[in-house]
């Protein structure tokens, strides 16, 4: 029988704000085995007097041994996320345990097209998949539909733009729910069925990954089912309350 997953020492290497409230942090983690895109990791912070707090975060990076990248959205009234977003500096340490989660994941070499539907910071595990496709040159068609409140809320703006230009088979659609850009042809508004491709848009129906706040995932999956996607082809990750 395998022993428990060990807690590993993680040293923050670099960090930058993606939006006013979301920050990417890179960590060196000796012994980290890598992960499958879509998986998450438990993060534990310990105060000087031994008080601890732990939370689960999606991994943002493509898999890599000994290193991982998180993008954390600061949660109002939160305990761990405000520290990661506003306090943690390069050289600071914490502990991580994982990777965990075996369902909401995509690995290079998996046959068939992929539809990714992200709401807000739900982009993070889907970005890990996009980065892995780009890194490995996997030929699977990828279509990312990414809904955010306004252009200011887009995480990974420049990288997504660059990847969409340089990665064969990758299509990126950005949608704004509250307010968009002057030349947008789509009026701002919540995700609609017309924003999503149906199961016939690809040679074979895609595997669909939906990640975002609970309300977003509920409505996105309703649209997907109405369009004819099969429930068993739709994998979800929800966060936050109803």
């Amino acid at each position: 029988m395998a022993g428990p997953l060990p807690w590993l020492r993680a040293r923050m290497d670099d960090g930058w704000l993606e939006t006013r409230t979301a920050r990417t942090l890179t960590f060196d983690v000796p012994g980290w085995p890598g992960h499958d895109p879509g998986q998450h990791v438990d993060v534990r912070l310990t105060a000087e007097d031994g008080y601890t707090a732990q939370r689960t975060y999606s991994l943002a990076s493509a898999p890599e041994e000994g290193r991982l990248v998180l993008t954390v959205q600061a949660v109002t009234e939160g305990e761990v996320s405000p520290h990661l977003v506003a306090q943690m500096r390069a050289g600071d340490e914490c502990e991580v345990r994982g990777p965990v989660g075996g369902w909401f994941r995509w690995t290079a070499g998996t046959p068939g097209p992929v539809l990714l539907v992200a709401g807000g910071s739900g982009i993070v595990p889907l970005m890990s998949m996009v980065r892995e496709k780009a890194r490995t040159g996997d030929p699977a068609p990828f279509h990312l539909v990414y809904s955010v409140r306004t252009p200011d809320h887009v995480v990974y703006t420049n990288e997504l733009f660059a990847l969409s230009r340089t990665t064969p088979g990758l299509v990126v659609d950005r949608l704004y729910s509250r307010g968009g850009l002057p030349d947008d042809t789509r009026a701002p508004g919540r995700l609609r069925a017309a924003d999503l491709p149906g199961p016939d848009a690809t040679d074979v129906p895609p595997v669909v990954y939906v990640c975002g706040p609970t309300g977003f995932v509920e409505s996105a999956t309703e649209h997907l089912l109405d369009l004819g996607h099969r429930p068993s082809a739709i994998r979800t990750e929800r966060f936050g309350p109803t």
Binding site: T46, E48, W103
Partner: protein, 199 residues
């Protein structure tokens, strides 16, 4: 040697003995599920109990509501580290749903409308420790929380409380369910932090 995170203090509350190790107090009610919320109505909902000899009995909504129900006030513990205290439910004790079935059974595989499964020892489902629940906080159970009918096993991590419950399969031998095949603990006791295989 503990790894101390420089400058971390935390948002501390009075320690609450009802919150297991590694958990934090959540006042909202987060939703976790592997796929779309299944469209299940009380008109088409059924629960099939499969005994160890393969014999089956099926309960529909009227049948469930004809069984004696109880009000349950309990705490919930999710493996993603949130705990919610003093939640109020109404449901039928699993023992009453199983009836005479289960002779020679030691384990149960619970089945959901979306294909989800989870395994539990039979002993953890009887003697007033688990319910087939249909109300939350005085109202019909919402679809995203597993309605119309879910399993409620509050003394184990919440992935054991299968939503959209459609089947209880009685087994002589343990058989891992959905998450239990994907690295999560077979039993899932929050007080022993049995989150993943090997914990």
């Amino acid at each position: 040697m503990a790894v101390v995170t420089r400058g971390f203090h935390g948002r501390r509350r009075e320690p609450d003995p009802r919150i297991p190790p590694g958990q934090y107090l959540e006042t909202d009610f987060p939703v976790l599920a592997i796929g779309p919320t299944p469209r299940v109505s009380t008109d088409d909902w059924t629960l099939t109990v499969t005994d160890v000899d393969g014999s089956r009995s099926t309960l529909d909504w009227r049948g469930l509501r004809a069984l004696p129900a109880e009000d349950v006030e309990t705490d919930l513990h999710c493996v993603t580290t949130w705990s919610k205290l003093d939640t109020r439910w109404r449901g039928v004790p699993v023992g009453a749903v199983l009836g005479d079935a289960g002779a020679g059974a030691h384990h149960v595989l619970a089945h959901s409308a979306d294909g989800y499964t989870t395994n539990l020892p039979l002993a953890d489902l009887v003697d007033g420790r688990a319910w087939v629940a249909f109300e939350y906080d005085g109202r019909p159970l919402e679809p995203w929380h597993g309605g119309p009918v879910r399993l409620l096993v509050p003394h184990l991590y919440l992935w054991k409380s299968a939503k959209w419950l459609t089947g209880l399969e009685l087994l002589r031998e343990d058989s891992p369910g959905f998450w239990e095949r994907l690295g999560y603990h077979s039993y899932g006791d929050p007080w022993r932090e049995q989150r993943y295989v090997g914990d």
